[in-house]
Symmetry: C2
Subunit: 249 residues, 2 copies
DNA sequence: ACGCAGGTTCCACAATATGGAACTTCGCCG
DNA sequence: CGGCGAAGTTCCATATTGTGGAACCTGCGT
């Protein structure tokens, strides 16, 4: 067998098995792993037992294999923000190429909208660096995505609007229903005059919305007639990221 | 070398190295791994290269080792609730042994309090199964922990109290400051007459509060004089879980 | 009771993994 | 600027491990 490097065939084989289990998303039977890995049953059995003994896989009562406690420890103590950013980066770069505008990724956290990554605009008149900037979510496209999908609760009390494009609460609720229907959200000069943004959701494997991705720029470039096309593009890129997270539409 | 089983020494060795990297929390140098694992430098180098090739570790620019992309994939697409429950289970069992009362674990999610695990009371007069039950957080011990640590925002508007033990908002704010000071929260017949609960926070590696653990039961058993002692016990078990998450006080 | 699928164990032997030595690279210090 | 030491990599003779075919075990369905 062709080896990338001498003296690690057993480790390579065990790792290949491990990758099959971790990337599967579903429990894996011994037989299905034997078929996929292409090794003798005895070899596969021995390698799986070594992986189990070392907490890299675990078996459920039916005997099927799952990622083991070492993965759980990593996930439980690791801030996955970096992982999400890493997975989302190609889609964000793609959006940047396609539009030349500022691209952002945000997550809902402690009931607030948190920007975790940004690809800057190629225009001089671009949006600010939004990371760490606190904005009223109801007048942002990203915030509307989170409100529409109920991963953030719309605050009670008076909603303040920084521009004169104020909405009543019923108007906003109708807007949010529209976001769910068409898949994307728009904020047109609601946060600042001359600033437009479109956003779409990112779903986890279980379908829940865990992030949103957006494009923003000047209304002199992002015309009203372009918005539906941009919205469709954002939905598509949001779907791409969701699929990387194991979501199946 | 004593082997648990024939034919997997290389996998066991590679897995031991991997565990050192994943459980470390910090980047690991090649030299520090050689020291800890106790193998020849050439063996360690070869095993680490195999782990890197198989995406189980990665090296940063300085050459130090980190958990690799396979862990990131797992974390990004895996709901870590199950992992947190698994890590917290021994501490919850311990609290159940010590008190005999209902023990709960909750997380803040989308600005709301979500119960994710419970160990039932050994008493007949025990608390309900809280999982999935929506309660007003301001009159629960768990909710007070989240409000006190600002991982949930106290709602504007009138606070409704199901019993006659209502508090004014300033009274509640003072209570929350007290929660931070002494480390634990108390709800004494605020949710229901005859029901008492004490809760303490669980911290992630970065210090942020990601969960809370509580004990609840009838005021006929949980007397007022016992509350401080129970509070201290909960703080201790909360700290135990936090340490498993990589938090260092 | 029998057959079969899923999975485990045994062991002769082929071939891999080992580690000591040699080597490379880089930063620090005189 | 050269020497030195630490960190890390590569080489290869050889010891010993990992392999897979065969035999075996277990549970379930007929």
């Amino acid at each position: 067998m062709t080896a990338t490097q001498a003296g690690s065939q057993a480790v390579d084989r065990a790792a290949a098995l491990l990758a099959l289990v971790v990337e599967s998303g579903d429990p894996r039977t011994f037989t299905s792993l034997v078929e996929d890995v292409g090794l003798a049953k005895s070899t596969t059995s021995r390698l799986l037992q070594a992986l189990e003994r070392n907490r890299l896989v675990r078996r459920d009562r039916a005997g099927s294999f799952h990622p083991g406690p070492l993965f759980a420890v990593y996930a439980a103590r690791h801030d996955t923000t970096g992982d999400l950013v890493e997975l989302a980066q190609p889609a964000m770069d793609r959006l940047s190429e396609l539009t030349g505008e500022t691209v952002n990724l945000a997550v809902p956290r402690a009931g607030e909208l948190v920007q975790i990554a940004q690809v800057d605009s190629s225009y001089l008149l671009g949006a600010t660096n939004w990371l760490g900037v606190s904005v009223p979510p109801h007048c942002t496209a990203l915030g509307k995505v989170f409100y529409a999908h109920r991963v953030m609760a719309l605050q009670k009390g008076e909603l303040r609007w920084p521009t004169d494009r104020a909405m009543t609460r019923p108007q906003l609720e109708r807007e949010l229903a529209e976001v769910v229907r068409r898949g994307w959200a728009l904020a047109w000069e609601e946060l600042e005059e001359g600033l437009a943004a479109i956003a779409a959701p990112v779903h986890a494997a279980d379908g829940s919305v865990v992030a949103a991705i957006s494009v923003s720029g000047a209304t002199t470039r992002i015309t009203r007639s372009e918005v539906p096309g941009l919205g469709a593009t954002l939905v598509e890129q949001g779907r791409t990221i969701s699929q990387l997270l194991g979501h199946q539409p």
